[in-house]
C-alpha cells in the first residue's frame, strides 16, 4: 500500500505559484494549484522580455530532476506535471482546520466551454458578434466574448466572458466538438416565481425565462404568492411592488422571514423607486424598472443563477497552503495626478508599453508606434514612481521593480523603434539594488544612450498644435523645464491584488498597513496563521528573482509543516513502475485513432488513412475510438491496449500535451515504458489547411503527422536507464544565519546535515548586528537559531573547520574537511549548500583612518551597542553612502547600507532630536516597505543631499585641535557648494563576499566577476549553480538583508530537498549518452555541455555522462560529427526518418 502523503494547495498561478507548485511537486507532494483567472502565468503571460537578458527564460524553471514527470514545454504556454492538479477560474472561499489538516473550500466559476472537448479551432470566436476590450493586451485591442485568454496557451481552450456574452448561441452552432454549453443544463432545477397583478407582464416574463431554460410559476397577487411558496420551493422570486391586497414589500418581508435564502428581485414603475430602494434594505437583492427589456430581465436571472451555482464550493484536504496571489499594477487614472493617462492615448503604463511592442500585442508586428496616430515613436520618456513612493496614492513604499523594467523598456524601445530613438527616464532614485543591476543601468546609459534625468515630473499635457506630449519637470535651481515627447510611459508600481482583503479574511491571515499579506519578522514567507505561507508579491512588491526565492522558501515551509504533521516526503514509498523489456523485439506499433465523434471535415476517410498506415511493416494494427477525450473513449482505448502483440503505442488525437499524465498511467497498467507511447496531433492540420483546400490536403497532413509519429516510436531505444544513487545528507559550508537556517530546514525533513564553520562560533554577521531598521532584535534570532542547531540531532556542527578538497557530482560528493584540533576527515553527501557570507568592505576613501570621528557603519553599530556614543555631545553627523561601491571595480549595490543609514538616523534622532544629520547619497536604496523609514527619516529632519561620481564629496580635517571633520559637497537644488562640520562621519562601505574561488571550484560552481556565487540564472534559478546539486544562499549569492538571507536559505534547502527526497534519481528519457566504439575522444562535447554533465575518465579514456545532470539539450549530439554522442529520443536515424515523413 502506498503510504499517505500530504497534499499542498498553492493559490495563484503566476510565476511564484508555478515555482511553489513545481517545488512541492518535484519533492514528491501532490499539489493542487488554483488560479481565479482562466489561465496560469499571471502578469508574466503578458511580458515577453525580462531584464537582464531582455529575453524570456521562464523555461529554466522546468524540473531538472525527474524531468519526465512534467512536460518540457514553454512555461508561458502551459504547465504540465504529473503531481500538479491545476484548477483555473477557481477561488478559495474558506480554510478550516489547522496546520497539517486543512479543509479548503474552493469555488469554481462556471465554465461554458468544456476544456476537454475544446480543440481550440477558433470557429466560435469567428462566429461571435460581440467585441470588447482585450485585457490580455491591457485593453489596447479588441476580442470576442468567446476568446483565448492568452493566445499562446496550451492547450488552447477558449473561454466565455459571461459579462460580455449575449447568449446568442452562434458559437454553439459552429463548434465541431459540441464543447460549448451556454445554458439549459441545470436550469430546469432553478425555479422562479413571478408575482404581478398584470397578466401580460407575468405571462411574458414566464415566456422569456422558459426560453432560457428556467422553470417558472406565476401568480397574480401577494396572497397567492405567500401560499405557493409554502407548498413549493423556489430559488428566486420576481415581485411587483404595487399590487392590490398585500403589496410587494409586505410579501418580501414575510417571504424573507420564511426563506431567508431565496433571492428576491423587486419590479417597479418609476413612481415607486424609493420604495424599491427601501425594499432592498429589507433583503431584496435588486430591483428592475418597468417597462423592462427581456434581455435585461433574463440577464439578471441568469446572473443570480450563475452566482448561486458558483457558490456551491468543493472541499479539498490540504496539509499546507501557499498563497501566491501576486499584485496588481497601479491604475494612474485613479490618482490625483493622472499624468494625462486615459486622456492622451500616447500616455501608457509600463505594461501597456510591453504589450505594444509584443509580437502578440495589439499591433501584431511589435513596432513601436504612437497609439494616437500610428506614427513611429522617435522620442519617448519614462516617468518613475507612478503609484509608488507617493503618499497621495497611499503608497509609502517602493515597488522595487519599476526602475529595472523602465531601463529594460528603454533598451527594448531602441530595438523596436527607429535607430535614432531618444529615450529619457525621469526618476527620483534609480534603485539598482540587485547584483547585476548597476552595470545594466550603466550599459543603458553609456552603450544605448538612455538619458537619465533626476527630477519628479509634475505635469504631462498635449501641445494642441503639434499633438506632442509636453513633459514638465523642475530642473536645477527648481527652474521649470518642458520637453516634447511622442510617447510617455508611466512606470506604474505594484498594488495589492484586488480581493486580497477578502482572501485574507477567508484564510484567516493578517495584512500589513499597505494591504499586502503580513509576513513574520525575519521570515516574510510565514503568515500569521500556522501552516499558511506566502510567496511572491502577495506579501509586498517583488521582482521575478525575489518572487521565485520567496516562493521556494514558502514551499519549503509548507513541506516542513506537512512533514511534521506526519505527511512528509520521507514516508512516501518508491513506487517506480516496472516495465516489460522489449529491447530485443522488432518494433511493432499499434495505432489507435480518435474519430472525434464524427466531426472530422468532409472528404476525410479514416479507414483509407488506416489502410495506408498498415502498409508500413512496423505498424501492427490500426483501430478506432469514437472520442478519446470522453471517459468512455478513454476506457475503450484502455481496453484496446490490453491485448498483446505490440511494443509501441501511437494515439492519433488532438492536444497531445493533455495526455502526458494519462499515458504514463496507462503505461504503468500495461507495463509498457511510457517512452514507447506517444500521442500525435491529427486535429490541427485541419486548421492549418482549412476547409477551402479540402479533405485531401487535410488527410495528407494527418497521414504525415501519423507517419512521423510511427517513425519516432519505431526508433526509440527501449534500453533501461541507469539510475544515480543519492547519499541522503547535505553539506552546508558557512555557519551564518543563511547556513544555519538551511541546515535546520534540511535536518527537520529527516536528513543528516554537516554544517562547516571556519570560526569558533556559528552566527556570522549576526554576531555584531543588533537590530534592523524595522526594530526587530537580531540577538533573539541568533540565540534561537543557534539553540535549535545545537539541539537538533541531525545537524552536525563542525566549528574551526574548513573545506580542504572535494570531488564528486550530484548525489555523491566526497568532501574532506579539516578541523583545527582533530585533523582531516572525509564526508560523503548528496548535495552542498554554499553559505560563506560576506563582510563589510574596507576603505581608504574619505579620510578613513585619519580621524577617530570617521567610522564605518559596522563600527558605528558596535559603538551604539557598547553605548559608547554620547549623543548630547554631538551637534552634527554626516553619512556618505556608496563608498567605493556602485562604480568599478565594485560596481554593485550592497543593498543593506541605505536601510542601515536610515536605522542610524532614526536612532540618533530619537536619542537627541537636535543632532543635525546630513546624508550624502547617489540614489537612496530603500526598496519595498523600507521606503517608509526613508519617509520617517526625512520627517525627523535628516537632510539628504545627492552627489555624483563626477563630483564626490571631499573630506578634510577641521580646525587645529578640534575633533570635527569638514565635508564639502555640491548641493544641486541650491546649486551651491556647502560645507558640513561633523562630529561624526559614517561611511557606508558596502559588502564584499567571503567566497574563495577554490571552494566554489571544488564543487564545480563558479564565482562571478565580483566574487559572489554565480547562479545558474539570476531570475529563474537564483540559488542554483549550473552544476546540479550545488546551491548558494545568503550573502554568498549577493548582498542582502537578514530576511533575504533567510529566504534564500529556505530556497536553497528546498532545491536540495528535491534531490535528498529520493533514494536514487532516474534519468529522463531524453538523456545523452556516448557510443564508445565510435568515440574518438576529441572532447568537443565536454566543451559545449552547459551543465558540466560530461567528463573524461582518465583511466579508461572514455567520455562519461552523468545522466542526472544531463538535461537533454542536445548540444553534444549536434557537436559530435559521427553521432558517437547521441541524445536518446533524438537519434540521427530517427530524426532523418521523421524528416523524411514530413517531406512526404
Amino acid at each position: 500500500m502506498k503510504p499517505k502523503i500530504g497534499r499542498a494547495l498553492v493559490v495563484g498561478g503566476g510565476i511564484s505559484g508555478i515555482r511553489a507548485a513545481l517545488d512541492l511537486a518535484e519533492t514528491g507532494y501532490p499539489v493542487t494549484l488554483v488560479d481565479r483567472a482562466p489561465h496560469l502565468g499571471g502578469v508574466l503571460s503578458q511580458l515577453d522580455n525580462q531584464f537582464p537578458t531582455n529575453h524570456c527564460g521562464m523555461c529554466r524553471m522546468l524540473p531538472l530532476v525527474d524531468r519526465d514527470a512534467g512536460a518540457q514545454y514553454c512555461l508561458r504556454k502551459g504547465l504540465f506535471h504529473e503531481n500538479i492538479d491545476i484548477r483555473t477560474s477557481t477561488q478559495v472561499v474558506g480554510i478550516e482546520g489547522e496546520a497539517g489538516n486543512f479543509t479548503v473550500r474552493l469555488k469554481r466559476q462556471p465554465g461554458f466551454v468544456d476544456p476537454v472537448a475544446c480543440i481550440g479551432c477558433g470557429r466560435c470566436a469567428d462566429a461571435c458578434s460581440v467585441s470588447v476590450a482585450d485585457d490580455f493586451n491591457a485593453g489596447l485591442s479588441m476580442r470576442k466574448a468567446i476568446y483565448l485568454p492568452v493566445p499562446h496557451m496550451l492547450p488552447n481552450t477558449y473561454v466565455i466572458d459571461p459579462a460580455a456574452c449575449t447568449r446568442c448561441g452562434e458559437c454553439i452552432n459552429v463548434c465541431p466538438t459540441g464543447a460549448i454549453r451556454l445554458y439549459r443544463e441545470g436550469r430546469q432545477d432553478f425555479s422562479v416565481l413571478v408575482v404581478d397583478d398584470e397578466y401580460t407582464v407575468r405571462d411574458s416574463i414566464k415566456e422569456w425565462l422558459e426560453e432560457e431554460g428556467f422553470s417558472v410559476e406565476t401568480v397574480g397577487s401577494g396572497e397567492e404568492a405567500l401560499d405557493l411558496i409554502k407548498q413549493q420551493s423556489f430559488r428566486m422570486m420576481l415581485l411587483d411592488i404595487k399590487m392590490p391586497g398585500i403589496d410587494g414589500v409586505e410579501v418580501l418581508k414575510k417571504a424573507k422571514d420564511l426563506f431567508p435564502d431565496m433571492t428576491v428581485v423587486m419590479m417597479t414603475a418609476y413612481a415607486t423607486v424609493e420604495t424599491a430602494v427601501e425594499a432592498m434594505k429589507t433583503g431584496a437583492m435588486d430591483y428592475l424598472m418597468k417597462p423592462f427589456d427581456p434581455e435585461d430581465l433574463a440577464g439578471k436571472v441568469i446572473g443570480v443563477y450563475e452566482a448561486e451555482e458558483a457558490a456551491r464550493a468543493e472541499e479539498i484536504e490540504a496539509g499546507a497552503v501557499v498563497f501566491c496571489g501576486g499584485s496588481e499594477g497601479y491604475d494612474p487614472s485613479t490618482g490625483k495626478n493622472t499624468f494625462g493617462y486615459k486622456v492622451f492615448s500616447d500616455v501608457v503604463t509600463g505594461l501597456e508599453f510591453e504589450r505594444l511592442i509584443s509580437g502578440t500585442g495589439p499591433g501584431g508586428g511589435g513596432a513601436l508606434l504612437r497609439p494616437s496616430n500610428g506614427e513611429p515613436v522617435k522620442k519617448i520618456a519614462w516617468i518613475q514612481c507612478v503609484g509608488s513612493r507617493d503618499l497621495q496614492t497611499d503608497s509609502d513604499y517602493c515597488s522595487g521593480v519599476c526602475c529595472m523594467y523602465a531601463i529594460k523598456e528603454a533598451m527594448l524601445a531602441k530595438e523596436h523603434g527607429p535607430e535614432d530613438l531618444e529615450s529619457t527616464i525621469f526618476y527620483m532614485d534609480m534603485r539598482t539594488v540587485g547584483k547585476a543591476f548597476q552595470r545594466f543601468r550603466d550599459a543603458a546609459e553609456t552603450d544605448q544612450g538612455v538619458r537619465f534625468v533626476r527630477g519628479r515630473v509634475h505635469t504631462v499635457y498635449q501641445d494642441t498644435h503639434t499633438g506632442k506630449l509636453v513633459v514638465s519637470y523642475p530642473g536645477e535651481k527648481s527652474r521649470r523645464i518642458e520637453e516634447d515627447y511622442d510617447m510617455v510611459v508611466l512606470s506604474t508600481g505594484q498594488k495589492p491584488s484586488s480581493g486580497t482583503d477578502k482572501l485574507a479574511e477567508a484564510a484567516g491571515i493578517e495584512l500589513n498597513p499597505w494591504g499586502f499579506v503580513r509576513g513574520e519578522p525575519f521570515l516574510p514567507a510565514k503568515t500569521s496563521r500556522e501552516g499558511i505561507f506566502c510567496g511572491g508579491s502577495f506579501s509586498g512588491p517583488k521582482d521575478i528573482a525575489e518572487s521565485v526565492i520567496s516562493a521556494c522558501s514558502a514551499s519549503l515551509l509548507a513541506s516542513a509543516t506537512m512533514h511534521s504533521a506526519g505527511k512528509g516526503i520521507a514516508v512516501a514509498g518508491d513506487d517506480t513502475p516496472e516495465y516489460i523489456d522489449v529491447s530485443h523485439q522488432a518494433p511493432k506499433v499499434r495505432v489507435i485513432l480518435c474519430e472525434c465523434g464524427g466531426s472530422l471535415p468532409e472528404g476525410i476517410d479514416l479507414r483509407r488513412l488506416a489502410a495506408g498506415l498498415e502498409a508500413d511493416p512496423f505498424v501492427e494494427s490500426v483501430s478506432f475510438v469514437s472520442r478519446i477525450c470522453t471517459e468512455e473513449g478513454w476506457e475503450s482505448l484502455a481496453e484496446k491496449v490490453k491485448t498483446k502483440g505490440y511494443n509501441r503505442l501511437l494515439v492519433g488525437a488532438c492536444t497531445p500535451y493533455a495526455y502526458t499524465r494519462r499515458i504514463r498511467e496507462l503505461g504503468g497498467e500495461v507495463m509498457l515504458d511510457p517512452s514507447l507511447m506517444d500521442v500525435c496531433d491529427i486535429r490541427s492540420p485541419e486548421f492549418a489547411y482549412g476547409e477551402e483546400t479540402g479533405g485531401d490536403a487535410i488527410e495528407k497532413a494527418m497521414r504525415r503527422s501519423l507517419s512521423t509519429g510511427i517513425s519516432r516510436l519505431r526508433s526509440v531505444d527501449p534500453l533501461p536507464k541507469q539510475t544515480v544513487p543519492v547519499t541522503r545528507s547535505a553539506l552546508v559550508v558557512g555557519g551564518g544565519i543563511a547556513g544555519m537556517t538551511a541546515a535546520l530546514a534540511i535536518a527537520e525533513h529527516g536528513y543528516d546535515v554537516h554544517l562547516v564553520e571556519a570560526s569558533e562560533h556559528p552566527g556570522g554577521n549576526l554576531g555584531w548586528l543588533h537590530s534592523t531598521v524595522e526594530g526587530n532584535d537580531t540577538a533573539i534570532l541568533l540565540e534561537d537559531t543557534t539553540q535549535r542547531i545545537e539541539k537538533h540531532p541531525l545537524v552536525h556542527v563542525h566549528t574551526n573547520t574548513t573545506v580542504v578538497s572535494a570531488f564528486g557530482e550530484v548525489g555523491n560528493f566526497f568532501t574532506t574537511i579539516e578541523t583545527a584540533d582533530s585533523g582531516p576527515q572525509t564526508i560523503q553527501h548528496g548535495v552542498v549548500l554554499i553559505a560563506t557570507g560576506g563582510r563589510e568592505a574596507e576603505t581608504r576613501s574619505y579620510g578613513y583612518g585619519t580621524s577617530d570621528a570617521i567610522v564605518t557603519q559596522k563600527e558605528l553599530e558596535e559603538k551604539v551597542a557598547a553605548k559608547a556614543i554620547d549623543y548630547s555631545a554631538i551637534e552634527s553627523v554626516c553619512m556618505i553612502q556608496c563608498v567605493d561601491s556602485r562604480e568599478e571595480p565594485r560596481n554593485y549595490c550592497s543593498r543593506v547600507c541605505c536601510p542601515s543609514t536610515l536605522k542610524h538616523i532614526l536612532q540618533m534622532k530619537q536619542q537627541n532630536p537636535d543632532i543635525s544629520v546630513y546624508i550624502l547619497y547617489r540614489d537612496m536604496m530603500s526598496p519595498g516597505f523600507a521606503e517608509s523609514w526613508y519617509t520617517e527619516a526625512r520627517k525627523a529632519g535628516a537632510v539628504f543631499i545627492p552627489y555624483t561620481t563626477y563630483a564626490k564629496p571631499v573630506v578634510s580635517q577641521g580646525e587645529e585641535g578640534g575633533s570635527k571633520v569638514v565635508i564639502s559637497t555640491r548641493e544641486p537644488l541650491l546649486d551651491a557648494d556647502v560645507q558640513i562640520h561633523a562630529d561624526l562621519l559614517v561611511l557606508a562601505t558596502g559588502i564584499v563576499p567571503n567566497l574563495p574561488e577554490e571552494l566554489a571550484g571544488a564543487f564545480g560552481a563558479e564565482c562571478d566577476e565580483d566574487g559572489f556565487f554565480r547562479e545558474a540564472e539570476s531570475k529563474w534559478r537564483p540559488v542554483d549553480s549550473l552544476k546540479e546539486g550545488v546551491f548558494g544562499c545568503g550573502i554568498a549569492l549577493g548582498p542582502g538583508s537578514i530576511e533575504g538571507s533567510v529566504a534564500t536559505a529556505g530556497a536553497a534547502a528546498q532545491r536540495a530537498l528535491r534531490i535528498l527526497s529520493k533514494n536514487a534519481i532516474s534519468p529522463a528519457a531524453v538523456t545523452a549518452r556516448v557510443r564508445h566504439s565510435l568515440c574518438v575522444t576529441c572532447e568537443r562535447c565536454i566543451a559545449v555541455c552547459p551543465y558540466g554533465a560530461r567528463s573524461i575518465d582518465p583511466d579508461t579514456n572514455r567520455v562519461l555522462v552523468n545522466a542526472v545532470m544531463c538535461q537533454g539539450c542536445g548540444n553534444c549530439a549536434s557537436e559530435c560529427p559521427n553521432s558517437a554522442s547521441v541524445l536518446d529520443g533524438f537519434f540521427d536515424g530517427r530524426m532523418l526518418d521523421m524528416i523524411d515523413m514530413v517531406m512526404e
Binding site: S1077, V1080, R1084, A1087, P1121, N1122, S1123, F1131, G1133
Partner: protein, 381 residues
Amino acid sequence: MAKTALYDIADKNLQGALASFLQSLLADDNISAVMVPMRQSGNDTVMQTLVTDPEQLSAADPFSPAFPMNAARLVSRLTKRSPGETVATVLRPCEIRAHIELVKLKQGQVDDIIIIGIDCPGTLQNNDFRKLAGKDPESTTDRFLTAALDGKTQFDEAVELPPACKICTHPVPEGADIGIGIFGMDIKKQFLLSAGTEKGEGLLDRLGLNVQEPPDGREEAVGSIVSAREASQGEVFAAVHEKTDTPEKLAEYLSGCINCYNCRVACPVCYCRECVFVTDVFDHDPFQYLRWAKRRGKIRMPTDTVFYHLTRMAHMTTACVGCGQCSNACPNDIPLAELFSMTASHTQNAFDYEAGRSLEEDPPLAVFREDEFAEVVEIKH
C-alpha cells in the same frame, strides 16, 4: 625576427646535405627518432618512415613530389598519447597545419615532437608521380625541383601540379619549429634553416649552426609564388562556384561518386574513428529504398551521396587545410579539393578563422558568441 641559419650543401648534393642535417638531429640527445619521407627500397615509392638508425637516412627524400598521404594522420598516431620520447617529423606546410587542427581536436599534441617543416613547391598526384618517376626514379626529385622552383607547373606532357597545389597560398611552413627553406635559395649551395619557435631556436643553438640572415631574394621569391597562387585560386574558385551553385549542379558535380568514402579516409582532418555514413544511422531498411523510389519514381543508387559530401563539408570545412588528398584518393577523379577549398575559404573567412594558423584559436564550432551572425539569426542587439 626568427632566428635563421644557412646550411651549406657539399658537392651540389641537396639530398646528401639534407641527410646529413637529419643525421645531426638524430645525434641530438633530446631526439630519439626522425620521421621523414624516404625512398622505399626496391621500387619508386616514397613514404614517411620513422628512423632511429642514422645510416638509413641516406634514403631520405623530403622534397620528393610524392604525396601518398597527408602525414598529419601519422603524427597523430605518434602523439595521441605521449610517446615518452621526442621525434623530429619532417612535414609539408599542409601537414603541419592539419596536425595543428588535430591537436585542437585532442587527436595529438606538439609537446613530444619537433616539427621540421619544408618549403613546398607542390606535389604530384599518385598516378602522375609514377609517370614522372617511371623513366628515371633516381633523379625524380631533382628534375621536379629544378622545374618547380623555376615557376613551372607542368613537368611532362601529362604531368602537372594538381589544382590543390596550384591554388595553395601556404607554401612556407608556418608553425614549424624549424623550417627548411629552398625558395629564393641557390639549392646547389645552401638551404635555409629558420626557427619558428623557442623549441626550434634551442635546437638550432644546440646544432651549433651559425646564425645568418636569409639571402635578399628570398622574401621576394616567396611573395611571387604566393601571388601567382592567389591568382589561380581566384580563377579556380570562380569556376567551381559556377559549376556548383544550385543543388542540381552540385549533384551533377558529384555524380561520379560511388560512396567509397576514400576521400574521407584520406582527409587528414576527418578524424572520426568511424564515419557516421558507415554506421547504423544510414543502415536503411530495404523497404525504405522502395518507398523513396515510389515517391519520386526513381532514386539514384547508391543513395545519400550529396548528403554525404555536404555532411563531410559541414563537419570539416572549418578545419580544411586544402592539401588535396581527397582528390588524390578519388577513384573517379571528382574534383573534390577545389570544391572543399572554396567552401573552406568561405567558412573560415566567416569566422575569421584559418585552419592550422594557431593553436590558440579555438575551432569555430566549439565557440559560442551570442552576438555573432546577427544577420543570420535576425536578433537585433
